[in-house]
Symmetry: C2
Subunit: 466 residues, 2 copies
């Protein structure tokens, strides 16, 4: 087979790789590419179609995973014998798909969970990864320290001290493959019989994790300063899960006074702990820096959790816990034997990334980038006039719009959607229904949207809503 001449539509709502995938699948189904025929290499096809190689690779991967094509070592990709596929298709049909695919495609997506991945420091990461994979580095492939490598924990500890006012020794740090895993680990460390209080609204992933992992959970309402300490006391919880630097989703930055009240709550009884999730503290636009709650803690009451998902990329899967001494003791007794979930090679890459100054530069670059998107979004929103109030804009990578004109969240989302703009409602973050019936709140995340896009999208929102 020479080439596939596919009539690609670059402006279409269907991504290029899906167009390629659909075309080839159809060709194979109809027998126009016959079983055993060799497909063009990804390199050749990408050149031929003038698309990036990864686009073709994604299409081939999809075809591979559905069995339409087969990969042969050193030889390339071949159209499969598709009779054999029927069995698989029958078997599959009885299951619901593991990940439900979004059907509607949007031109603009204000996802509050975005990270700008075009800024990922490919060159540095590639260089460090090459350096780490050195022939005589056999030691690196042995199972490492369950808590994570000493070198990495050391640089994280200095970073936390300098950047976040977190006081800890490398010994207190546990590196793990993402916040979800570390939360599972924390549940295993703390054991059963705890009641965890979360803010309402909150990061639902955390709520579901605690609820499904043998913890009792409850929610505590927030005021403008964060979780209400008196309500926390009444809740009967012994563990409070909070996000003081930038509450998700409300964007509240907890003032020092409230932080102290929470610490006092924890100190009142033995066994009470605060879990401080500092997920996106790297990005702050206004006001003085407030050190992490952990930095004020003198009695070992704060369990700190931080991540590189927001500041580098979600897919690198590295987060860390900082455990106070008593909890660390429990960790060693109950879970110290559990192997680390992060490969030592990846740990070494990250260590070098921080040590050699790449992380600092990357953070500065991302701060500037997000700040300018933040400023653009605010400026554009202000142009729209005064149909809403803005909150949560002092930190993080999303903000909130409050409407009091009686229109529902659903209505606003659907109006935006008609213009091709995806926005998000706050109600989904409430665990047992929103507290205020008199306002409708929309979330706009801007991490993953360029400034021109922001301008276009806000202007469309103006048309949609006013």
């Amino acid at each position: 087979m020479y080439e596939l001449t596919i009539n690609l539509k670059p402006g279409a709502k269907i991504p290029l790789y899906e167009q390629i995938y659909a075309y080839i699948k159809e060709e194979i189904r109809r027998g126009r590419i016959s079983s055993g025929e060799r497909l063009p290499s990804t390199r050749a096809l990408s050149r031929h179609l003038d698309v990036s190689r990864s686009t073709v690779e994604l299409a081939y991967e999809q075809l591979l995973s559905e069995g339409y094509i087969e990969a042969q070592p050193y030889r390339g990709y071949f159209a499969a014998q598709i009779d054999g596929l029927y069995r698989i298709e029958r078997q599959t049909s009885s299951r619901k798909p593991a990940v439900s695919k979004e059907t509607k495609k949007y031109s603009y997506d204000f996802t509050p969970n975005g990270v700008d991945l075009n800024s990922f420091p490919y060159n540095a990461w590639r260089k460090l990864s090459r350096e780490s994979l050195v022939e005589d580095q056999a030691e690196l492939f042995r199972l490492g320290c369950p808590q994570g490598e000493a070198g990495l924990r050391n640089v994280i500890s200095s970073y936390l001290h300098q950047a976040r006012g977190v006081e800890c020794l490398p010994e207190q740090i546990i590196v793990g493959a993402g916040n979800d895993y570390l939360m599972m680990l924390l549940c295993a460390i703390l054991g059963t019989g705890h009641k965890v209080a979360l803010e309402n609204p909150t990061y639902r992933q955390a709520y579901r994790l605690f609820a499904n992992l043998s913890c009792e959970v409850c929610t505590v309402d927030m005021d403008a300063k964060g979780m209400k300490a008196d309500e926390l006391e009444r809740s009967g919880a012994d563990i409070a899960f909070v996000m003081p630097s930038h509450q998700y989703p409300l964007g509240t930055v907890m003032p020092i006074r409230r932080r102290m009240e929470l610490l006092q709550w924890a100190e009142k009884e033995e066994g009470r702990y605060i879990i401080e999730d500092d997920y996106d503290s790297e990005f702050r636009y206004k006001g003085k820096p407030i050190p992490a709650l952990q930095g004020y803690d003198r009695n070992g009451k704060v369990i700190y959790i931080g991540t590189f998902s927001k500041s580098i990329a979600p897919a690198i899967r590295m987060s860390y816990l900082v455990l106070p001494e008593a909890v660390h003791e429990r960790y060693r007794e109950r879970c110290g034997f559990i192997s680390s979930t992060v490969s030592r090679i990846d740990q070494m890459i990250l260590q070098k990334f921080i040590e050699e100054g790449y992380y600092e530069r990357h953070l500065n670059k991302m701060r500037a980038l997000y700040r300018s998107r933040h400023d653009t979004l605010l400026a554009e929103l202000k142009k729209l006039g005064c149909g809403f109030d803005i909150s949560g804009e002092n930190a993080g990578v999303h903000l909130l719009l409050h409407f009091r004109d009686g229109r529902s969240e659903e209505e606003l989302i659907s109006l935006a959607s008609e213009k091709g703009v995806k926005v998000y409602g706050l109600s989904g973050y409430y665990v047992d229904g929103p507290r205020t019936a008199d306002e409708t709140v929309i979330l706009l995340g801007y991490a993953n949207m360029r400034e021109e896009k922001i301008k276009e999208a806000v202007s469309l929102l103006g048309e949609a809503w006013f």
Copy 2:
């Protein structure tokens, strides 16, 4: 500072990196390298001392993690102000060290958990890792599918079918960062209220995991065929954890008849499951290949767990579960939202590694290597005469010596230790004390020992024991 001329002793029992580390630490402590002074680069020092660069890096890492030196981006390593270290040392002293270090150094170590890491396919891995870190591959840095990438699950599913007789769709596979993590996940999926039966002796890590993660655990004795099905029935357990391909530590290969009995046990009641840990099934020396238990299962009773730790390297941290439909349903309900613990880049590297035929070649190479070590060890042991029986030698990377001369495990280990040979006793693998008082069993792992070393070590064992 120009160079450090360290009088290294390559034959000494202290590893080179420790010698370098100790030398520099002492120099800094005594003020002969003064605070702020720049150390030679790792490249320069390794050339100067004629050691590998990674050796110097390990030494520097240790010094860094203890605060004797500091790393400055682009500038290199500098001796630290060591006054500042006192506080840290004081604080540290109140804690026990996180990982206790083995003090005695052995010239020969028959660890049953070894993997030959010198055979790690550096070139292929480096090449694939370079290919995966492509500039326009931003998609790769987004959070992927919680179960693992479809492409990787697809190649694992074909591999399992061909190599292990495991029947599964890619949808049933969950990729995770190591067996420990997947076991934690499995506990979260199954929920509380289960009773897990493990073989006795068993892989203690699994026992501790289940015991610490809100499961009731019990042990069931083994006969020469594996876990006794009638005793399993009497135990009241609803989950059986077994290693049919090569029981750890006994090395038993479970015959088909016993596999069927276990499946019948599981089918007798709804909610009963068998967890099949197929940790080192890749290595087999004798007899016909027996497909995995999962391959015989017609009623969705077997939860299969496999790993690349033994066949590639422990540090790459990739294992997988194959869930029967009902368990997969529970997974989606209870844990489907938990993010994957393996980075997409690593998943893509592994996928390409398998797809492009590297894995097959690597496995063949390792099989030949381990087989020749296995044969050498058996031949050498036979030369020693008949003071013991050998078992567990048909598969895996370790075997067992049975002594019936009244000497204790402790005695045999200590005699070997005096000759610089580390061997392992079986009793540590029993959960509640060994069953047979009339024999003493020693484990010898050979994965990580070259043939000359095996010959030397066995000859020393002969001197020590007979």
